[in-house]
Symmetry: C2
Subunit: 233 residues, 2 copies
DNA sequence: CGCAAGCATGCTGCATGCAGAATTTTGTTT
DNA sequence: AAACAAAATTCTGCATGCAGCATGCTTGCG
């Protein structure tokens, strides 16, 4: 719900235009960026592999120009690396890279939590709680996908409530880097239960507007996440 | 000294290759990115103004293709905004944007300081101290430019000592956003003195490996920075 | 005289073409 | 047979050309 979508070629996170407004023509550029990003996350483009402009362009059905532009964009996100004259390579994240990113993410979410405790209205917090409960419902009945959405939604909700665009922006970048790792680093549901419990605690702290408790809960959650994904690097 | 330079088209912050190594051919792409970024920072391209691909390309002496690629890159940094079919516009930062960014920056530097207190060697901290003292020397004799370098160097030094690439990366992005504001938001030297005092305190805390004190010093410094630049937005 | 519809211009988005560099393959020499 | 060198192929980087859309102006009508 309330998903942030990329509109325009900028790739910036822009909030959804609710209802009418200037129609956002889906630009080819953005489509390619999203598509290639997904290909990286799903492993279709393995880490460390060379990206061949001609081939990939042909499989995507676009010419090299917009594809190159998209690769430049992904390079600035840190998902691919460009060597001049040598083309693009899907970036290899080391275990340290992943851990470092998680440390920063936990810190950013801690800040977001503090800001959210200050700025969020009771109604907004209640919405997060309801969102969470609804997702837990889904999670208990089904399998992987709802869990994924649950996991993402609670974190992005805190970011949203912080009402700090810059914060959401840098958080999004690091989040994007880790999506591939998260994608392959999740085992059985027994681990999910712990994550759901973490989320419960996070929401509880938010409802109590206890920034310190929230921050600690986020740190613990981060460490547990690291344990869950470290083998995947 | 020890300036991080952008090598490769990626625009990632890559540490300088000290000595020989694969020659970093200065790619046109990077040159354009840097040039246009500087044009924005120096006000040659005013905030809110439309960027005309044809014109700008002609004045830079390049064709539209690499220029467009560079604009895509800058868009992902958040310095320009792209509307599909409508071209690029230099982003207007609101006062809230700037303040939000400063809040996040202070937080990131606080994390960097904590990590630096843990991971930096005594020698490394001593180097930062020497760097600082040298810059203060320069600052007392001369004028604006040394102050600028002083200001940047101390902050990037802490980031470096944190030894967390992801942290340095997101910090660099936000820093780039604010360079324009910092550029126009500095008045007389009487304000600089306060900043230098802040830096003194920051280094002191680092030497004492007192993360809390360091964090607080950084927060205070951020608030003072905000007072200094808020009128420039 | 004001407003709206249509037209003209110009710009963006994308494809293609060409030159230079990188890589691979092949041929030659030791 | 192995190693080096040279040529050929392939790929990247950049320029240009063309189509479609956005914008501003002009003209016709109320």
């Amino acid at each position: 719900m309330d998903e942030t979508v990329t509109i325009g070629t900028s790739g910036q996170l822009i909030e959804e235009l609710d209802g009418r407004g200037p129609i956002a023509r889906p630009s080819l550029h953005d489509a390619i960026v999203t598509r290639v990003r997904d290909m990286i996350i799903e492993g279709e483009l393995p880490a460390g592999s060379r990206i061949h402009e001609g081939n990939l362009g042909k499989t995507l059905g676009v010419s090299r120009t917009p594809l190159r532009e998209a690769l430049k964009f992904l390079a600035s996100e840190g998902l691919v690396e460009l060597s001049p004259g040598r083309g693009a390579v899907v970036r290899q994240f080391t275990a340290k890279d992943v851990h470092d990113s998680l440390v920063v993410l936990a810190d950013l979410e801690g800040l977001a939590g503090r800001l959210a405790c200050e700025h969020a209205s009771d109604d907004e917090i209640r919405e997060v709680r309801e969102l969470h409960d609804r997702m837990v419902d889904l999670y208990e009945k089904r399998d992987r996908l709802p869990y994924f959405k649950l996991n993402q939604s609670i974190h992005s909700a805190i970011l949203r409530l912080s009402k700090n665009e810059a914060l959401g922006y840098v958080h999004g970048i690091l989040q994007a880097r880790l999506r591939r790792i998260r994608y392959i680093g999740n085992e059985g549901p027994e681990k999910w239960a712990a994550a759901v419990a973490d989320h419960e605690e996070i929401i509880g702290a938010l409802e109590a507007r206890d920034a310190d408790r929230l921050s600690e809960a986020l740190t613990i959650h981060m460490e547990r996440t690291w344990e869950r994904v470290r083998h995947a690097v």
